[in-house]
Point group: C2
C-alpha cells in the first residue's frame, strides 16, 4: 500500500518510469492533503469570533471533511490498483477469437473501474470545496493561508482527477456510460472551480 | 521527519489541530509530487517520436527535475521546522527589557527563515514548470494526463508557497528584505503561471 509506505517512497514511485503510480494517485494525494488542511482549520480551538455560530458551522464542515479525507486516502491506492488491472488486461493473450473476446471484456471492465476511481475523486473534491467557504468564513483568521493552500490543492486534485477520467472515455465501449461519466465530471469540475473561487474571494 | 513517516501519518498530521505541519509543508508536498510526475514522463523509454531530439530534451529536463524534486522533499520538513521555531520564539519570556529584546530578535530571525523556505518552493516550482513544456512536447503522448496533473500540482504548490511567504511579510522588521521577498515571490509566481499555461496549451 502506498499510503502505508513513507512519503519519500511514494514520491520516488511517482518519479519512476513504471506505469503506476501515476497522475491518478497523485491527484488523490493532493485532494487528501487539501481536505486535511481544511479539517485542521475546522478543528482549531480558536474560531473566527469564538461564536456558537462559528462552532456549529465548523463542526458540520469537520464531519463532512473527515469522511471525504478517507475517500481520497482510499483512492491513492485504488487508482494504482485499477490502472494495474488495465495494464494486465491489455497483456492478456489474443491468439484465438475466444481469447480476444475475453481480453476485450477484461479491458472494458478494468477501464470502467479505472474511470470510477478518479470520478470519485472529482466528486469528493467538489464536495470538500463546498465546505471551504464555511471554513474560510468561520475559521481562525490567522490560518487563512492554510485555507488558501487547501483550496489550491483541492482545485489541483479535482482538475488532475478529471484529466484521468477523460483519458479513459475514448476507450470505453459502453458509450452511454462514457457519456454519463463525461457529463458528471464536467458538472463536478465546474462546481469545484466555482466553490474554490468563492472560498478564495473570502480569503482576500 | 515527515518524509520518512508514512503518507497516512503525514495526512493525519496535516489534519490535526496542531500548528505544524501546515500549508507550507503541504505546498512543498504538492510540488514534490508534480516534479516527480514530470520526471516519470521524462524518464519513460518511449518518447513522443523516438527521436534524438526528444531524448536530448528529456535528458536535460530529467537532470533539472531530479534536483528540484530534492529541494521540494527537503522543504516538506524544513517548512515545519522553520514554523516551529517561530512558535517557540513567540513563547520566549518577555518580563524584562533584555528578555523582550532577545525575544524580538529571535522572532525576526525565525520569521526570515520561515519566509525563505516557501520562497525556495515558489522559485523551484517556477523552475520545474519551465521544463513542463519540453516534457509535454517531447514526452510519450499517452502520458499527457500525467503531465497535466504535474502542471496542476506545481501550480498549486507555487500558489500555496506564495501565500506562505506573503503571510510573513507584514511581521518582518527588515522592510528592505520584506520588499525584496515580496517582489521575488510575485515575479516567480507570474513566471510559474505563464509556464503552466504554456504547458497546458501543448496538452490540449
Amino acid at each position: 500500500m502506498l499510503v502505508d509506505g513513507s512519503v519519500r517512497r511514494m514520491l520516488d514511485a511517482l518519479g519512476s518510469p513504471d506505469p503506476t503510480p501515476g497522475g491518478g494517485s497523485a491527484s488523490a494525494l493532493a485532494s487528501a492533503a487539501g481536505a486535511s488542511l481544511l479539517l485542521m482549520v475546522a478543528r482549531l480551538p480558536k474560531t473566527r469570533n469564538g461564536s456558537d455560530d462559528d462552532r456549529a458551522a465548523l463542526a458540520t464542515a469537520s464531519t463532512a471533511l473527515a469522511a471525504l479525507r478517507e475517500t481520497f486516502i482510499d483512492a491513492i491506492d485504488a487508482d494504482t490498483a485499477a490502472y494495474d488491472r488495465v495494464v494486465a488486461a491489455y497483456k492478456m493473450p489474443k491468439a484465438t477469437a475466444d481469447a480476444q473476446s475475453a481480453r476485450k471484456e477484461a479491458i472494458q471492465r478494468a477501464l470502467v473501474a479505472a474511470t470510477e476511481v478518479p470520478l470519485s475523486v472529482v466528486r469528493a473534491s467538489a464536495e470538500a470545496l463546498a465546505h471551504a467557504a464555511a471554513v474560510a468564513a468561520h475559521g481562525n483568521a490567522s490560518a487563512a493561508s492554510d485555507v488558501g493552500v487547501a483550496v489550491a490543492l483541492l482545485r489541483a486534485g479535482a482538475h488532475g482527477a478529471r484529466l484521468n477520467v477523460e483519458i479513459n472515455l475514448g476507450g470505453l465501449a459502453d458509450k452511454a456510460y462514457a457519456e454519463r461519466a463525461r457529463q458528471e465530471v464536467v458538472r463536478a469540475a465546474e462546481s469545484a472551480a466555482l466553490d474554490a473561487d468563492n472560498a478564495d474571494a473570502l480569503l482576500r
